[in-house]
């Protein structure tokens, strides 16, 4: 899929087949989905019949009628073309996905023994079957790892070639059909039947095959159909008015007026805008399960963001060493570094680095020190080293204090003085308040001090949140930390609110609370315990690395598993709605100029006084009408790139955004056709078309 990212809008590979599709879409059944264009097609057919009749009976101004009919059909074809181009981009992606869905053999297990399997066709697998997938095998269908651990190449769906780990239990147990196991083996319980796998759904989504009209699109279609009806009334009553005045208006002229007045521009581009919106997400490696979700993204009022990985870097880092009285920083740094030498966690490494950078203590080699590493256990909640008869431990403050107490009882040595304990606790409290995590360090029962582990807020995230605030979106940080720590990080990151000591239950109730206030909530999650919240949220983005439950609960899946993408998803949703609004406004505003082109031309024969309305100074009535209809058709083509790319969203607040867009698409929509029609009039008169 990565190669399709580079496909530009004006790619010949998309444009050429789209021309063929534009004709194929003349099928009335496909036209009927779009009320405005359907009406245009009907009147085009009508005028074609009239033209043929005139050809036989020898009517007047056949050349003019012929050109009008041609441009009427072009209007329909251009609309079809726009849709075909939008779909074409999806089709290219679907094609590359289909290649991964080759026929696979599955090793179906009958019992627990993983060597006893029979080869069956991948498509014959049923939900609940358990298969074994070994190194080099393609995973036959979507499923959940029930046993084993393996590295899997998921490039087929993510475009990312670095292998990922999939293992049973936990949050990395989901595997996707079509991806390849690179090493080791896993037992997979099948969770999707053939035809409804993740890749199948992806293909359907990017092809737009299952595209349903979204709520806003339905409402807009109603408006456009209503406006079409209004202009049916406005034009259908003209012959009668004209006959009262003693004049006659040819049907072809009425049709031309009608087609230019009805909102063909937005009518033609509406479905292309919708398809392009989904496509923009796909290019962004996010799959929206429905267009409704994309629209909802634009409406989001509250964004729930996990602290770790989204707001802060995944790992905390040591930033400071706080010795107790009578201990030097150097002494503490030495002990802290020794205790962390064998600690491969990012926190541990950051302590070694801090000691080296700030206190010039070079990292030492465990082996040459004859040190033995004491790893972290859930029981002791400490780690450290034993060397030369002395023991150094670092760990959670309570754990270290308990260790000191126990040690005192066991060895009968002097108790840690109450004063030192109080001092350690005071420092720990201070660090907690600042949003950090304190780690106490003890050497041979002697409390040395505290390491300050700090959550590092990601660079630029504060600006991001300020931008969201300008967009009118409230950000809420979700964290398992205690309220004190959470508050400090929330302040540093600039989020509007936080939920501390979060559990799946209070996460869910927070979403419900926000929704009760009428707000739309977006969140992302990956774990099974996120599933209820993901399902409850209006926009639930499941990480592709997440569990099957999470992926099914969300209405979007992020293939890159990058939770910060929520912000862009919201922007894409807004862009989709804005593009629709902008082109609708433009389309309606265009009508003013078209009236001024056609009305004087239409009535000039019997009311020459109305020539005064010909403010554009168009050459002849015929050139005026033809110019209007040509402009009307060409503007569709001219706006295809905009409808595919979308109107740019700027986080400047709704008022400023609206005045800007109103100026461009409203005022612009009034002025552009005056210029355009005049130019076309000059051109067609110059080359003698009329």
């Amino acid at each position: 899929m990565s190669q399709s990212k580079s496909a530009s809008i004006m790619d010949a590979r998309i444009l050429v087949p789209a021309i063929g599709d534009a004709f194929r879409k003349l099928n009335p059944r496909s036209l009927a989905k779009n009320p405005v264009m359907f009406v245009v097609a009907v009147v085009s057919a009508l005028t074609t019949v009239l033209l043929l009749k005139d050809l036989v009976t020898g009517g007047a101004s056949l050349g003019f009628s012929f050109q009008i009919v041609i441009w009427l059909w072009f209007t329909v074809l251009f609309a079809n073309f726009a849709e075909a181009v939008a779909e074409g981009r999806g089709k290219a992606q679907a094609e590359s996905l289909r290649r991964t869905r080759t026929e696979t053999q599955a090793k179906l297990l009958s019992g627990d023994d993983r060597t006893k399997f029979k080869l069956v066709a991948g498509t014959s697998l049923k939900v609940g079957d358990v298969v074994i997938v070994e190194a080099g095998d393609i995973i036959p269908s979507d499923g959940e790892v029930v046993e084993g651990v393996a590295s899997v190449n998921e490039a087929a769906i993510t475009g990312e070639s670095a292998p990922v780990i999939r293992e049973s239990g936990g949050d990395r147990s989901a595997v996707t059909g079509g991806t390849q196991v690179l090493s080791d083996w896993i037992k997979v319980r099948i969770t999707a039947a053939a035809g409804s796998t993740f890749i199948d759904r992806m293909i359907a989504l990017v092809e737009g095959a299952e595209r349903q009209k979204t709520p806003n699109e339905i409402a807009l279609n109603i408006l456009l159909a209503g406006m079409t009806l209004i202009f049916v009334l406005a034009t259908a009553t003209i012959p009668s008015f004209a006959s009262y005045a003693g004049g006659y208006i040819p049907v072809i002229v009425l049709v031309a007026l009608f087609v230019t007045l009805i909102p063909t521009t937005i009518g033609a581009l509406l479905s292309a805008i919708g398809i392009a919106g989904m496509d923009r997400l796909v290019r962004f490696n996010v799959l929206a399960m429905s267009g409704r979700a994309v629209e909802a993204a634009g409406d989001v009022d509250t964004l729930l963001l996990d602290k770790t990985g989204t707001i802060t870097l995944g790992n905390r880092q040591a930033t400071e060493l706080r010795p107790v009285r009578n201990v030097t920083e150097q002494e503490l740094a030495d002990a802290a570094q020794l205790a962390s030498l064998a600690d491969e966690t990012p926190e541990g490494r950051s302590i070694v680095v801090l000691a080296k950078d700030k206190y010039a203590i070079r990292a030492r080699d465990m082996a040459s020190l004859h040190a033995t590493f004491v790893p972290f256990t859930a029981q002791s909640r400490m780690s450290g080293v034993d060397l030369d008869g002395s023991s150094i431990r670092k760990g959670a403050v309570e754990a270290v204090l308990r260790h000191v107490d126990l040690g005192t009882v066991a060895t009968g040595s002097t108790r840690a003085s109450g004063e030192t304990v109080r001092e350690i606790q005071a420092i720990a409290d201070e660090i907690s308040k600042a949003g950090g995590t304190p780690l106490a360090v003890v050497r041979d029962g002697r409390l040395l001090g505290v390491i300050h582990l700090k959550d590092i807020v990601k660079g630029g995230i504060k600006e991001r949140f300020a931008e969201l605030r300008r967009m009118g979106i409230r950000t809420v940080m979700i964290t398992g930390d205690n309220p004190m720590t959470a508050a400090a990080i929330a302040a540093e990151a600039g989020v509007d609110d936080f939920l501390a000591q979060a559990t799946p239950e209070n996460k869910l109730s927070l979403i419900r609370e926000e929704q009760a206030k009428g707000k739309l909530v977006a969140m992302c999650g990956d774990g099974t315990n996120d599933a209820p919240a993901l399902a409850q949220a209006d926009v639930g983005v499941a990480m592709n690395t997440g569990t099957v439950a999470a992926r099914e609960a969300g209405n979007m899946i992020d293939l890159d598993s990058d939770p910060t993408k929520l912000v862009e998803i919201v922007e894409i949703g807004k862009q989709l709605l804005m593009t629709r609004g902008a082109l609708t406004t433009f389309s309606i505003a265009n009508d003013i100029a078209k009236y001024f082109a056609i009305i004087p031309a239409m009535f000039l024969a019997f009311y020459p006084q109305l020539g005064a309305l010909n403010v554009m100074g168009l050459q002849t009535p015929q050139s005026a009408i033809l110019s209007a209809i040509i402009f009307n058709a060409l503007i569709i083509v001219a706006l295809i790139p905009l409808s595919l790319k979308g109107v740019k969203y700027r986080a400047v607040g709704a008022g400023a955004l609206l005045s800007r867009n109103l100026l461009i698409y409203g005022l612009g929509g009034i002025i552009v056709p005056f210029v355009g029609i005049k130019a076309i009039d000059m051109a067609i008169t110059a080359i003698g078309l009329v």
Binding site: G226, I230, T237, A245, T585, Q609, G653, L657
Partner: protein, 577 residues
């Protein structure tokens, strides 16, 4: 230099000062009247409660209604339709049977069936289109029990519907939009009746007749006998203006010296046409908890109104070049009363057509082409510039729904107004309502102009005759009731079709409006944020003006081009019709 000495194209500073004084009075009335009406419709105590509350409660007991019982929109609409149907039948029968009913000193005969249908439809729909001369057709009983009662309740119906729609925005996650019977009773009892009593007194003091006696006989200077029509004029006049009904006691309406004696009575009449409609915007602002929202709507109306006044006044003051060529200076005084002059006639014409009133103090058919174009446009926009009491407000909210839906998308959110999301159902209903006006106006005009029997009723040739028919159906469907003159509308064809146009133009807008209220009231109110499109500023006003002009106005461009517009260009080229 005197104030009258400074002129611009015939317009005088004095003329503009009179227009501005009028605007100033309306703006000053908006808050107090709006505050009072809000209390009334919220069921709060007002200074009139000690007197009116017992009457109100008595009425509910009599009718067996519980004022606490709120209605779903369908029940509200059903009550409204039932009430109006009953009123329609009573009015029809009164006219048909007036010959044998009391209070008929002049012995008026029964009204014919088509005319009775037309008049019943006309007064039930708050249109007051009159295909008859009041003083020569209707008995006192018909005028008072029939027409005057409908003048009250049709106005009250409009106000009730507007309040119900406002509740749709103001309430959240509910089901009911109020009780039609209660809203109806309160608008009549607390709003229309007290104001009418005060206004009647004022008119009587200014010399408007108020009597149940027979017409006065006088001997003229030449010694001829003349019967001078009088009657309960002042009370009729009060509600005709306040309720934007417009049906005159006399055929000449407010151009008649008994129905509008001087400049002061003229000012009071103009103010009372706009008072409730303008205050409705404030009721809205208060009910949704932000008065600025109301002012924004009023500003939109104000912009459209002043633009109309400017064009109309300018066109009338500039006069007719053909007359100037004959050596006659000055503006167009044809069809105008000398005691009002050009500015007050132009102002009155714009007010009465902006507000769906239809009372006139000058003959619109005698205006210049452009001067007459403004009243037409006002009505074609759907009477949303202040509009009929209540009706103008729910009318403009339909345009708000459309404007918000189209432009609201451009801020990148599902469009919302006052925290309520505008979705398919609202758009469908708004489009339906907005579609029905041009549907009725253009279709009936299109049929009539090719129907020989209908064309025979036209008084003038060419585009002016066309304008007469277009004006008639436009005025009817917009529930305005003013006429362009020249057209003899009392024929079976016009009586029936104009009657239908009035009914469609009224109820095919009310029902969608109530449906929108019913849909909105169930929705949650989304709190406003920086991402919400602000609807209380200049931007919104500009947008709404644009949408009203484009959606409401463009529909009629071809028809207008063949009527007043071509007439205007013809006039410039020295041709009249």
């Amino acid at each position: 230099m005197t104030l009258n000495g400074m002129t611009l194209n015939g317009m005088t500073l004095n003329g503009w000062l009179q227009i501005l004084v009028f605007c100033g009075i309306i703006i000053a009335l908006v808050k107090p009247l709006g505050g009072y009406m809000t209390r009334v419709f919220n069921g709060d105590r007002t200074f009139l409660s000690p007197v009116l509350r017992p009457i109100e409660r008595g009425l509910y007991r009599l009718a067996g209604t519980s004022e606490r019982e709120d209605q779903h929109w369908t029940a509200y609409a059903a009550g409204m339709l039932f009430f109006n149907l009953a009123g329609f039948l009573v009015l029809y029968l009164l006219q048909r049977l007036q010959g044998s009913l009391p209070f008929n000193p002049e012995g008026m005969a029964a009204v014919g069936p088509e005319l009775a249908f037309n008049t019943a439809a006309s007064f039930v729909t708050n249109t007051n289109w009159q295909n008859y001369g009041g003083e020569s057709t209707m008995s006192y009983l018909t005028q008072m029990v029939g027409l005057a009662v409908q003048n009250f309740v049709s106005a009250a119906t409009g106000i009730a519907v507007a309040v119900a729609l406002i509740r749709g925005f103001a309430r959240a996650s509910g089901k009911s939009i109020g009780n039609f019977w209660v809203d109806m009773t309160r608008s009549t009892l607390y709003v229309l009746l007290p104001l009418c009593i005060v206004l009647t007194m004022a008119y009587v003091a200014l010399g408007v007749p108020q009597t149940l006696g027979a017409y006065v006989s006088a001997t003229t200077l030449e010694g001829a006998q003349q019967s001078i029509a009088v009657g309960p004029v002042a009370s009729q006049l009060a509600i005709k203006m306040l309720g934007t009904n417009g049906g005159g006691f006399f055929n000449a309406n407010s151009a008649h010296p008994f129905e509008n004696p001087d400049a002061i009575s003229n000012l009071i009449q103009m103010v009372s046409i706009f008072a409730i409609g303008a205050a409705m915007t404030n009721v809205f602002g208060r009910m949704v908890g932000n008065q600025r929202q109301g002012w924004a709507i009023l500003s939109t109306m104000g912009v459209l109104f002043l633009a109309g006044v400017a064009v109309c006044y300018w066109a009338e003051a500039a006069g007719n070049p053909l007359v100037h060529a004959l050596g006659l200076e000055g503006g167009n005084m044809e069809g105008k009363e000398v005691r009002f002059g050009i500015p007050l006639s132009a102002l009155f014409a714009v007010i009465t057509t902006a507000a769906s009133c239809g009372a006139v103090n000058a003959m619109h058919g005698s205006f210049t082409a452009l001067g007459g174009l403004i009243p037409l446009i006002n009505m074609e926009l759907g009477e949303v510039v202040i509009g009929g009491v209540g009706a103008g407000f729910y009318g403009i909210l339909l345009f708000v729904v459309l404007a918000i839906f189209v432009a609201g998308l451009m801020v990148g959110r599902t469009p919302e107004y006052l925290g309520k999301k505008i979705e398919a159902k609202e758009v469908k209903m708004a489009v339906l309502a907005i579609l029905c006006l041009p549907g009725v106006m253009l279709t009936f005009t299109a049929i009539s102009v090719v129907l020989p029997s209908a064309v025979a009723s036209v008084g003038n040739a060419g585009p002016h005759g066309f304008s007469e028919i277009l004006y008639a159906y436009t005025s009817a469907a917009a529930n305005n009731g003013s006429a362009f003159g020249g057209l003899s509308g009392n024929t079976p064809w016009f009586n029936i079709t104009i009657g239908l146009a009035m009914l469609i133009g009224r109820f095919m807008i009310i029902i969608p409006a109530l449906a929108i209220a019913g849909s909105l009231v169930t929705k949650k109110t989304v709190p406003a944020s920086a991402g919400t499109f602000p609807t209380d500023g200049v931007l919104f006003v500009g947008l709404l003006v644009g949408v009203i002009l484009i959606v409401g106005g463009l529909t009629f461009f071809p028809a207008l081009a063949l009527g007043p517009i071509v007439e205007h260009f013809a006039m410039i080229q020295s041709q009249t019709f």
